[in-house]
Amino acid sequence: MTRDDVLVQRPGPLASLVIRNARLLDPAAGIDRTGDIVVREGRIGGDATGLEEIDGTGLIVVPGFVDPHVHLRTPGREDTEDIGSGSRAAAAGGYVAIAAMPNTSPPVDDAQDLVRVRELAARDAVIGVGFICAITKGQQGSELTEGAELAALGAAALSDDGHPVSNAAVFRRALQYQHLTHLPLTLHEEDMDLSAGGAMHEGAVSARLGVGGIPAVSESIAVARDVALASYEDARIHICHVSARETVEEVRLGKARGVHVTAEVSPHHLLLIDEDCETLDAATRKMNPPLRSRTDRDALVAALIDGTIDCIATDHAPHGPSEKELPFEEAPFGVTGLETAFASLYTHLVLPGTLPLEILVERMSADAARVLDLPVPTLAEDAIANLAVIDPTATWIVGAGDFQSKSRNSAFLGTELTSQVQLTIAGGQIAWRR
């Protein structure tokens, strides 16, 4: 059941243009051909006569990307990101829809908060923005939020994100209540006792660096619990940012047993490992879950390809310089990701031949939309235009120009990437044009 009332976007002029002689690639719709694509009055197809023409030679047109997991810092930390800047960052990365986590200040956990952020999105968002609301009031892990009302008002999902519900009985009630709300539960999985004091993956590198370790089992043990509870309650869960191979195994087992479990993985976990933390640079290397071992990374890539992991999510987590200038162990977790997601994965997984482009596009678009029941972007005729135009040969240095995001804590800061989003049309409107 796709929900059309979740995404909010600023109203604006509808795009009309034609892209000539591009590769049109929409794996989910079975489209892969070279030719023209017409967008007229915000919809795909129709007569190209009189429209602006774009030479698409050498370019790839794909369905726009969807990110089920971003942080827009609104309300509370608009100095580091807001709905306008975050949505522009997303558009610059080829995204047409994103879902914002509720760990804001205050957390989005009731009707009033949700209505307010949706109003802001209707004013500022250049692409579709959905809002995930808290599972428990104040993300405190004890009392359920008014899920039925939140669902009626267009909540994208429920999540306590970085404050996982530790009490199994409370979480069980959240699963039971899902039969009323039908809202996906998206879960940051972490046993906070096991990870306490940790700042990076527990392993050989943390042993050498003397930095507090976050064991892989702190993630997989929480996933095992929640898969068991979801199975027992016949409920549906989505596992955020899988980082450990043990977690991949839990998700694989759950799926094999018919549990309704989906999972996402972030570009940084697919591309970086704990050895990259040697610099102790918190701005680019400290995130939760942490960068894990090479073996974990390889397991994540394999799981993304075979579908055990359903989709890619950036966990875009903007932080200001003063927050990230702290010593590694004291700085907050998180890196940005919206502007680099496709290019980083294209550069480091597609170009070397590890990951087929078709799978990458599907995992970033259709598969990502499905985990939250969002409309699936497509290049098919008559669909509302939600697409990205990519130059697969352009190279750029991350951070050399300005970010659209207000923050610069990118894991790929200063590195050269290949491929760049030239144009993004979201909800029929031009959201980004280089």
Binding site: E202, G203, R208, L209, D281, S322, E329
Partner: protein, 318 residues
């Protein structure tokens, strides 16, 4: 951003550089044997000791080292909550940096703090201990002490015993010793041994205290209550002392004992052993000052000029 050389991690030093530092330390030890224990080598240079975490011997030895080299030494003790500490770290370094010091000597409770501080100053930065991460000058003074006592480092076997998990002393020591061709063992209760220590640091890792038998030096580590937080890592200090405490009863003839201090007598080391003249604990403190003189001298001198002959000439001129 730091334009001068710094000493943040012991792994940044090559075998030759460590040897040079220990040799320099011996030269300074000779000077310390003279009536006037001061040389004009670093006259006009400024050393700022910036300690965000309590310290007795490291702070005093860096202060004395600087003063005996005739540098201007300023000691700053900072404190505050963990986040405030981090924020004030940058601001403190920027503020004190306006005085254009030549060296910051920094101690902080969080791993990565000294690397972070180095981003905000052009002065050389010396890590005087950052959380559980590193303590490179402690490693140098320990090697200095070991070389002096045993005559060599190559082929030496050093067993660190006890709270390895929280120990920057063991971590920096293990890296330095292996650089010099020594063998290192970590012997600890299972709860105080870092996971994958063997893979991460190349050491022999064991829970069996009997494994100290083969060691030339038994290095007793302090139980670091202040880093343990809630929840005991061992059931009791009494049980720890019984299982892992180092005393004469565990040692064979010729084995030497070290401890970085401050000692928990009766816990990781017995009273009797701590006071035994063959223990190297006091020698470590003496070594600490001359090695820190060597580090300051090395960082503040033109690298091309650092030849022991030049040093001797300078000292004689004093």
């Amino acid at each position: 951003m730091s334009s001068r050389r710094s000493l943040i991690a012991i792994g940044d030093l090559s075998r030759d550089e460590i040897t040079r530092m220990l040799d320099l330390g011996e030269r300074f030890a000779e000077v310390m044997g003279r009536d006037i224990k001061k040389v004009p080598t670093l006259r006009g240079r400024t050393v700022i000791n910036l300690f965000f975490e309590a310290s007795t011997r490291t702070a005093t030895s860096f202060e004395l080292a600087g003063k005996r080299l005739s540098a201007d030494v300023i000691n700053v003790k900072a404190s505050g909550s963990s986040v405030e500490k981090g924020e004030s770290l940058k601001d403190t370094v920027l503020t004190l940096g306006a005085y254009q010091p030549d060296v910051f000597v920094i101690r902080h409770a969080a791993a990565g703090a000294v690397a972070a501080a180095a981003r905000y100053t052009d002065a050389a930065v010396v890590n005087a201990g950052d959380g559980k991460h590193e303590h490179p000058t402690q490693a140098l003074l320990d090697l200095y002490t070991m070389r002096k006592a045993m005559g060599h480092l190559e082929g030496l076997h050093v067993a660190y015993v006890g709270d390895v998990l929280h120990s920057r002393v063991a971590r920096s020591g293990a890296i330095a010793l292996q650089t010099m061709g020594a063998k290192v063992s970590f012997i600890a209760p299972p709860t105080l041994l870092p996971r994958e220590a063997a893979a991460g640091l190349g050491v022999h890792a064991s829970h069996d205290i009997a494994d100290i038998a083969d060691a030339d030096i038994v290095y007793a580590l302090r139980m670091q209550h202040e880093r343990m937080g809630a929840g005991g890592f061992v059931p009791s200090l009494r049980e720890y002392a019984t299982q892992y405490g180092i005393g004469h009863h565990r040692l064979r003839a010729g084995q030497r004992v070290m401890h970085a201090g401050p000692m928990n007598r009766g816990v990781e080391i017995t009273d009797q052993l701590a006071d035994d003249p063959t223990a190297l604990v006091t020698a470590q403190v003496e070594g600490g000052m001359v090695v820190r003189m060597a580090v300051l001298y090395d960082l503040l001198s033109d690298p091309q000029a650092v030849r022991s002959t030049d040093l001797v000439t300078e000292m004689m001129a004093a």
